[in-house]
């Protein structure tokens, strides 16, 4: 396990103490269950760990005055795949971006509540979002390789983060191998990343992300632009990666969540008394339990295809 000392996340020239944030929970909380798995489960993988690397508590995300997601609480377990599912507009991608402060890049976006990473508040004043993103990488919905060579795509992260690299060629090869792309590209490392097929591009983006050795990889609907074969490859890859990395994946595809994840969070969109629509976490539990024995009626309706 990677141990992160309190200084690491902080701006280098800024000494400060970390105050552990532990906000008391509010009343109406979604059903969060990380208890032992139901042995009759058919969906999902048996969790092998229940050590949370991240915890969300009372997390709301605002765009300007609009509250896009309200009061989310869930853990992210170490070296497990956590899936976020739910209908469009339920805020799952918004929550995902709150986990590595990508929301900072959206003007007017604001996160309330506490997101902790190894006990440190990610949104504390002295936390450097650059450092956060070096540890918590992200793969996007649409493959977005840089308009550079395959090699440079992978080497970009280590270069900009100033990683100490003995041999960049080895690092690039390792990352590409880990992303199950090496055999397909080893003879054309100098050609443009954009010359690859969509599925290959997405695996290149994964290789690029793991090249900086993050602890957590966030994936925002990584397969939605891919065909079923490419999707299957990415899913296989996620299994492989889960032995070394903590993965959080947002997906529209319930079957995908059921196939790959250990834990699943189900979000939905609600309309409140002011007629404002906002996302809410309905249920979080082990994937097997959520798909076979959901605690909430709305989860059941969704997974049985009655809405969404």
């Amino acid at each position: 396990m990677v141990t992160v000392t309190s200084e690491q996340l902080h701006r280098p020239n800024h000494e400060s103490e970390v105050t552990p944030v532990n906000q008391p929970g509010t009343a109406s909380r979604p059903a969060v269950s990380i208890s032992a798995a139901n042995t009759t489960d058919t969906a999902g993988h048996q969790p092998t760990s229940t050590v949370p690397v991240m915890e969300l508590d009372g997390v709301s995300v605002f765009y300007g005055d609009y509250e896009a997601v309200r009061d989310t609480a869930m853990p992210i377990q170490e070296k497990q795949i956590t899936a976020m599912i739910g209908p469009s507009g339920c805020g799952k991608s918004t929550i995902l971006r709150a986990l590595n402060r990508m929301n900072d890049l959206i003007p007017g976006a604001r996160v309330a509540g506490s997101v902790t990473y190894h006990g440190q508040d990610l949104y504390a004043k002295d936390v450097d979002p650059i450092e956060v993103r070096r540890r918590i990488g992200m793969v996007f919905q649409k493959p977005n390789p840089f308009p550079k060579s395959i090699y440079d795509n992978v080497a970009y992260g280590p270069r900009v983060t100033g990683m100490k690299v003995d041999n960049m060629d080895d690092l690039v090869e390792k990352a590409l191998r880990d992303a199950a792309l090496w055999d397909e590209v080893k003879d054309k490392l100098k050609s443009s990343g954009l010359s690859l097929s969509g599925g290959q591009q997405q695996r290149l983006c994964i290789a690029r992300t793991i090249a900086v050795r993050p602890e957590i990889i966030l994936m925002d609907e990584p397969c939605s632009a891919l065909d079923p074969i490419a999707t299957a490859k990415i899913e296989d890859l996620m299994f492989e990666l889960a032995s070394d990395y903590t993965i959080v994946i947002v997906t529209h595809n319930m079957q995908q969540a059921a196939r790959v994840s250990h834990y699943t969070a189900f979000f939905t969109a609600e309309v409140d008394e002011k007629q404002e629509r906002h996302g809410r976490l309905v249920e979080f539990s082990q994937t097997g339990k959520l798909f076979t024995n959901p605690a909430d009626k709305r989860t059941e309706d969704y997974i049985t295809g009655r809405f969404g």
Binding site: M102, L105, R133, R134, G137, N144, P145, G157, T209
Partner: protein
């Protein structure tokens, strides 16, 4: 119930094959097409007419004398005259303009596009003013330069003054072109870079700028081409009617091709007009060469996503 028919205006809807055959051209389509073609002919015709006229007029003077000999004011010496000092002056000015205005313009554009917070009133005011500046007549820049740069700041009637004023004149063009180029870089590239832990400057310098280079280069060269043809501000900035020496430094007196052309044209003798036509062809050749470079750069380095 039958499906709504799309062929009601066509002959014999009962024959399925006939319904797809092309009807005679619609009159509206035809009229619009003719109008567009007429506009094209006018625009292109005027340009070709002017070019041909200038070429014919200046044909006799299109030789090496143009750039090896100095201008003259005397009809008797016209045979051995050229526009060398004006050509050298123009090259001096344009190089200086590039040195002054490209860094300022490109950095301003990067700031406005990548760093400035658009919700702040002062940034919006800046943007509005840059748009407005692009539309200010060049003679106004000339007068401003005369008052502030030549007189108040004491740069005098020198090449430096001319270059500073022309830089100010084309700065908005460079800024606007650069901003367009930067804006054309997809947001997903920036996000990918940030998600890997790159800083803002790393993202801008390693991803955004390289991708925007073709657009920036094209816009910059076109802006410089505009500066090359400007005569109005130089008239008030002490570009002399003709000089028989080449400028030799930043504080040198100077003349430039547009000014030289203007001077020749105002002379009554036909020989001067001829020399002016030759100089016009030379100026056009420089501008065309620069535009070709712009097109080459754009095609060579264009990125596709």
């Amino acid at each position: 119930m039958s499906a709504p028919t799309l062929t009601s205006t066509r002959p014999d809807p009962s024959a399925p094959g006939a319904a797809l055959t092309q009807r005679r051209s619609r009159p509206g389509d035809l009229a619009f097409r003719l109008a567009m073609q007429a506009c094209l002919v006018v625009a292109f015709g005027v340009l070709t007419g002017l070019l041909t006229w200038v070429l014919i007029k200046g044909w006799n003077r299109l030789d090496s004398r143009l750039w090896t000999e100095m201008p003259t004011g005397l009809t008797s010496r016209l045979d051995g005259a050229g526009v060398q000092s004006a050509l050298v002056g123009t090259l001096w000015i344009i190089s200086l303009v590039a040195v002054i205005c490209l860094p300022i313009g490109i950095l301003s554009a990067i700031y406005l596009e990548e760093y400035a917070d658009n919700t702040r009133w002062y940034n919006r005011l800046l943007e509005l003013n840059i748009q407005n500046l692009a539309g200010v007549p060049s003679i106004i820049f000339g007068i401003l330069g005369l008052g502030i740069i030549a007189r108040a700041l004491g740069f005098g009637f020198t090449i430096t003054t001319a270059a500073i004023v022309l830089s100010l004149l084309v700065l908005p063009v460079v800024i606007i072109a650069t901003r367009e180029a930067i804006r054309a870089v997809p947001q997903s590239i920036r996000q990918a870079s940030y998600a890997l832990g790159a800083t803002k400057w790393q993202t801008v310098s390693r991803q955004v700028l390289p991708s925007a280079v073709p657009g920036i280069a094209t816009g910059s060269i076109l802006a410089l081409s505009r500066a090359i043809g400007e005569a109005a501000p130089l008239i008030v900035l002490g570009a002399v009617t003709f000089i028989t020496f080449n400028p030799n430094g930043l504080d040198s007196a100077y003349t430039a091709l547009p000014i030289q052309i203007f001077t020749f044209i105002t002379r009554p003798q036909a020989e001067f007009t001829e020399l002016a036509a030759g100089a016009i062809v030379l100026l056009l050749a420089i501008v065309l060469a620069m535009n070709s470079i712009a097109i080459f750069v754009r095609n060579r380095f264009e990125k596709r996503w």
